[in-house]
């Protein structure tokens, strides 16, 4: 972000106010002032600007029983929204998400066979074209992809389960819909969402690891920002080696966390076929048989080794586990903590909390919407062009 002009000051202040409202919900003008450190008159001017941009509204507060003149409550207008897109192997989910983080509408499109990137793009564009969007102001599209995404241009470098390799996605989807499009890895967006709205609220350094049917995805937030790396590929803990086993993962690498800890093995052990996430969690917790326990503990050993690598390399405050990894955590939390901290440097281990994911099925929609909202939050005046 450019700095060093008086316009950049205005932009930074508008951004701070809008972000405060986005992260913490409606707030009085005086509270906005004290949290941003700006003067009363400045806040008044900033809020007036945001209101004239159509981003916020002011309402008279309910009486709250404190002395002094009541301060109007500033709220985000829910008409400002983003479109979250999540292609998976059997389904494409498209969600309309308000700037107030409300889930406005969800459309699921199933397909028989794994779609090509072109097909996914055209289906997405068709669904969006069919949405009733009058009354909404759409800031853009955020796409959560189960694979490695080049942040710069939204090209999907490799999404193994979708069989997409070096597929342009952001560009064509933008061309097909007319909206700006940003694309990122799904677990990275999960990390973002859990960090801002879930288990990791207020945390500056967080690791999110999700266990799904197709493998283990992960993403990290470092110093309050998504850890991207050079091209946007960072945070892939699932493909870090934790064993000398020759079993390979979806990327063909042997002995990785994803290769060693699988949902399929757990289902086989439990004798389940295709349970929902909550069924799996319940059945696993109920089954204290020796056989199941052995499988779980072996998985937790490998998971601990992997988490320890992340603890040593990233020094997070919090590790959030999603999917069946959350179930494994619930099964035997202390065992996982021991396994993790045994391979972690003691000072780093001391500061880590391991917690289950708090956001449910809307996790990726929220995360992808965050991605789409980011340019607006960074430069609120940019909506003038929408």
């Amino acid at each position: 972000m450019p700095q060093g002009t008086s316009e950049s000051v205005r932009r930074a202040n508008l951004s701070a106010v809008l972000r405060d409202l986005y992260l913490h919900g409606p707030s009085s003008r005086s509270a906005l002032g004290s949290s941003s450190g700006r003067n009363r008159s400045t806040i008044a001017s900033l809020v007036a600007d945001l209101a004239s941009l159509g981003l916020v509204t002011e309402k008279d507060p309910e009486h709250h029983g404190a002395a002094g003149r009541p301060s109007p409550v500033v709220s985000l207008r829910p008409e400002t929204a983003a479109i979250a897109v999540n292609p998976e192997i059997d389904m494409l989910t498209i969600t309309l998400v308000g700037l107030d983080t409300a889930i406005i509408q969800t459309i699921r499109h199933s397909y028989r066979r794994i779609p090509s990137a072109e097909e996914a793009i055209s289906v997405t564009a068709a669904v969006i074209a069919g949405l009733e969007l009058t009354g909404y102001r759409i800031t853009g599209i955020g796409v959560a992809v189960p694979g490695q995404v080049r942040a710069e241009d939204g090209v999907i470098a490799n999404a193994p389960h979708l069989h997409w390799v070096d597929e342009p996605f952001g560009g064509p989807l933008a061309a097909a819909t007319g909206y700006p499009v940003r694309v990122a890895n799904d677990a990275a967006l999960g990390a973002l969402a859990e960090n801002d709205f879930g288990a990791g609220r207020g945390v500056s350094d967080l690791l999110y690891v999700n266990g799904g049917a197709s493998g283990i995805g992960s993403g990290a937030v470092s110093n309050g920002r998504l850890l991207r790396g050079a091209a946007g590929f960072a945070g892939e803990l699932g493909h870090v080696r934790v064993s000398s086993s020759p079993a390979t993962d979806s990327a063909g690498i042997a002995g990785t966390l994803e290769a060693m800890v699988t949902r399929a093995e757990l289902l086989e052990t439990l004798g389940l076929d295709s349970p929902t996430a909550s069924e799996l969690a319940a059945r696993l917790l109920a089954d204290r048989s020796a056989r199941t326990r052995k499988v779980v503990l072996r998985s937790l050993d490998h998971l601990g080794t992997g988490l320890a690598a992340a603890v040593n390399l990233l020094n997070p405050q919090m590790i959030v586990l999603g999917g069946f990894l959350a179930s494994l955590l619930a099964y035997e939390r202390e065992y996982l903590e021991r396994a993790t901290f045994a391979a972690s440097l003691a000072p780093s281990a001391r500061g880590v909390r391991i917690a289950p994911s708090q956001l449910g099925e809307n996790l990726l929609a929220i995360g992808a919407a965050q991605l789409a909202f980011e340019p607006l939050l960074e430069n609120p005046a940019s909506v003038a062009s929408i």
Copy 2:
């Protein structure tokens, strides 16, 4: 850094100009203008401010053969300096480093036995008290410690080879010397130095891994900034597991990179006792015996596994190897690349270069000085108080 006031604009612009000079050396006023994007008149005012703060001088340029009025060359004044401190098990090194990155003076203090933190602090304070510093303006002290350092307050959480655990260092040293003190891990400062002045110039995401007599240290730069993590402990690749071997490292963790790849084993194989770094490099390169080769390749396998973990988690553009790891790289670069990329996600692997360290024995002095200069670079007007 606070934002949102007109003073912050001035600070950001002063900082941008000073940092440009720090990183890229002397520069004409017009070049400073175009690189920072500020107007001619603004640059004139900024440079005048920096000059009145005593940080820069302007000189008439040599004729350079281009049309137009010549632009004065702005240079950093070398009188502004920092004190770099590096305690090791057998020696304490104190270096006076100019803001123009010149090494002004180096003092080495040897001791017979490993010092306590208190002893290291009092020796450091005594050496600094004995320095002839008239004519210099000392911005502060930067300390590079072989261990995990809490960034916030400079407490050394664990420096295994020095047997320091939870030892306050920054605070007492500041009290003893009167200078502001910042403390960080030595390899992290190596990463910073290589990133700004060494093999990784211009790179935004870099991993530095150093192999020394006492183990493997590492640090990372992510998005142009030092990767700190929650408490400042991030970047410790040496303690990531790469093997199921029970051999433990200096932190007591089994099978880690540091446990599996040691300088001692290399020396034993080569039949050397205590060679200098360049002796070791030369002897290793000259020895193509099957026995040596076997040891080296096994080390490179483990190193590759470790580097792959970092590639997958951090997605760096460049990996810089120092110490005997640079010698291993020189011995068989392609083998290390294969070992690393075999366990790396292909898109992440494609963008990585592995290179030897470029900065020699002054690496840590430069890095520690960077740490001490950082507050000045961030807010140049703060020197007014020195």
